[in-house]
């Protein structure tokens, strides 16, 4: 077990799975329909959910301030961009639940981007997934982003832990320096009740995921850092 230092802030980055989209405190039903909820539920949340895993984890770690910097629909490229532009303090600890590989962003300015997603019907998304996307290329680009984030935080002496939603996102590149924490939200989420959209993890899944991260963090010598 490694000695744990005291942190003033837990900073979390990620997508809707970190934001806690469609959890009870942030969801608005546009037209509730008992027969077919899907498609009728609309999220209008303005801030991350208090039920999301970063809050659970912050409580367990007894860290006084939890800052959830995630955004719904974010790609890993955009998550990296957020990390690079964030003002960290030396006593921060950073947890990143990286997003799915089925999305991308094209930046048009520091604070604006075109969202590209496999499930979007716009021309950009269609072009991207038909002509620019293959599994190897996408995995490669995402591992570039993960490794830059890791090296950047390491150079700044900011403690950080990296997580993936699903173990199918793991890959083996000889230059990869990251050991992801062995907790995958998909495994936790699968058997548990979902959020209001019937897709995202529900309250109990977030709670269990936060607890599992805490257990791993507390009991292992693990550091997202270099593979030894």
């Amino acid at each position: 077990m490694v000695a744990k230092m005291d942190y003033n802030r837990l900073i979390a980055f990620g997508c809707s799975f970190t934001y806690g989209q469609y959890l009870p405190d942030d969801t608005f039903f546009l037209k509730p329909d008992a027969k077919s909820k899907k498609g009728l539920v609309k999220s209008i949340q303005k801030k991350p959910s208090k039920y999301a895993w970063p809050n659970i984890l912050g409580e367990k770690l007894n860290i006084p301030v939890v800052i959830n910097e995630s955004h719904c629909g974010q790609s890993n490229k955009a998550i990296l961009h957020d990390i690079l532009n964030y003002k960290f303090d030396k006593n921060d600890i950073v947890f990143i639940l990286w997003s799915n590989y089925d999305r991308h962003d094209v930046f048009t300015a520091k604070d604006h981007q075109w969202n590209i997603n496999l499930y979007m019907s716009n021309v950009r998304s269609k072009v991207y997934f038909k002509y620019m996307h293959n599994k190897f290329n996408t995995t490669l680009e995402n591992y570039f982003y993960f490794n830059l984030a890791h090296s950047y935080l390491k150079e700044k002496n900011i403690k950080h832990e990296f997580l993936l939603y699903h173990d199918r996102f793991l890959a083996d590149f000889k230059w990869n320096k990251i050991k992801f924490l062995d907790v995958f939200f998909s495994r936790v989420n699968a058997p548990l009740p979902k959020a209001y959209d019937d897709l995202h993890p529900g309250v109990e899944a977030h709670k269990q995921f936060g607890n599992l991260i805490y257990q791993k963090y507390k009991n292992s010598e693990y550091y997202t850092g270099d593979i030894k």
Partner: protein, 210 residues
């Protein structure tokens, strides 16, 4: 410090495209290229890993998969921001560039997905990852871009201080290569001498903006 090898990465500008010894087929890097000239000045053997038509993404990918020695010195002349590529699991690199007008992927990329700011940001991701990667491996390295306009001082997270020598500035002052587009033999020689001069007289190190 003495080095056992000069290893260079880049595109056609580093390859020495269409110079006297490799025109017109360009099957090997030119002995007249700036890396070959720089190796002579440094008195070390050269490994020129430049690839014609490379994007910065491909340059990074090549660099990450290279087996460095501890006493290598690495110079990277990064490519045009515009360029991109898609890589398959068989290590086939499909280049995307404005010169590929017959390639549908390229045409659609520039029509639908290209943005000036985005191309710059992605290039700076690659520069910084390469820099931190080499720094962690204790491999001495120097980064260059071929035109001054590619240097962006507004990105606070960028930790690279590029060497202040630009091949584009030199190219047009001398006769061009045999394709009448790329830098000629004299431009490569002067560029190498400028790099060597900066290398010898400055705290040139790549590294941190300090």
């Amino acid at each position: 410090m003495s080095f056992s090898r000069l290893v260079t990465f880049g595109c056609s500008l580093t390859f020495g495209m269409s110079l006297a010894d490799n025109y017109p087929n360009n099957e090997f890097p030119s002995k007249f290229s700036w890396p070959a000239n720089l190796a002579k000045l440094l008195d070390v053997p050269i490994e020129n890993k430049a690839i014609l038509g490379s994007s910065n993404k491909e340059i990074l990918y090549t660099l990450l998969n290279y087996n460095f020695k501890n006493d290598d010195i690495v110079f990277v002349l990064w490519s045009h921001h515009d360029r991109h590529c898609v890589i398959t699991d068989k290590n086939i690199v499909n280049p995307i560039g404005i010169w590929q007008k017959k390639n549908k992927s390229s045409r659609l990329f520039f029509k639908q997905l290209w943005n000036f700011y985005d191309r710059k940001i992605e290039s700076y991701f690659y520069y910084n990852f390469a820099h931190l990667y080499l720094q962690e491996k204790n491999i001495k390295h120097v980064f260059l871009v071929h035109q001054k306009g590619y240097i962006d001082l507004t990105l606070e997270w960028n930790s690279i201080n590029f060497l202040n020598v630009f091949l584009t500035d030199i190219r047009d002052r001398y006769p061009l290569a045999k394709d009448n587009s790329h830098p000629g033999i004299e431009a490569h020689k002067i560029f190498a001498e400028d790099i060597y001069h900066k290398y010898n007289t400055n705290d040139f190190y790549i590294g941190d903006k300090k």
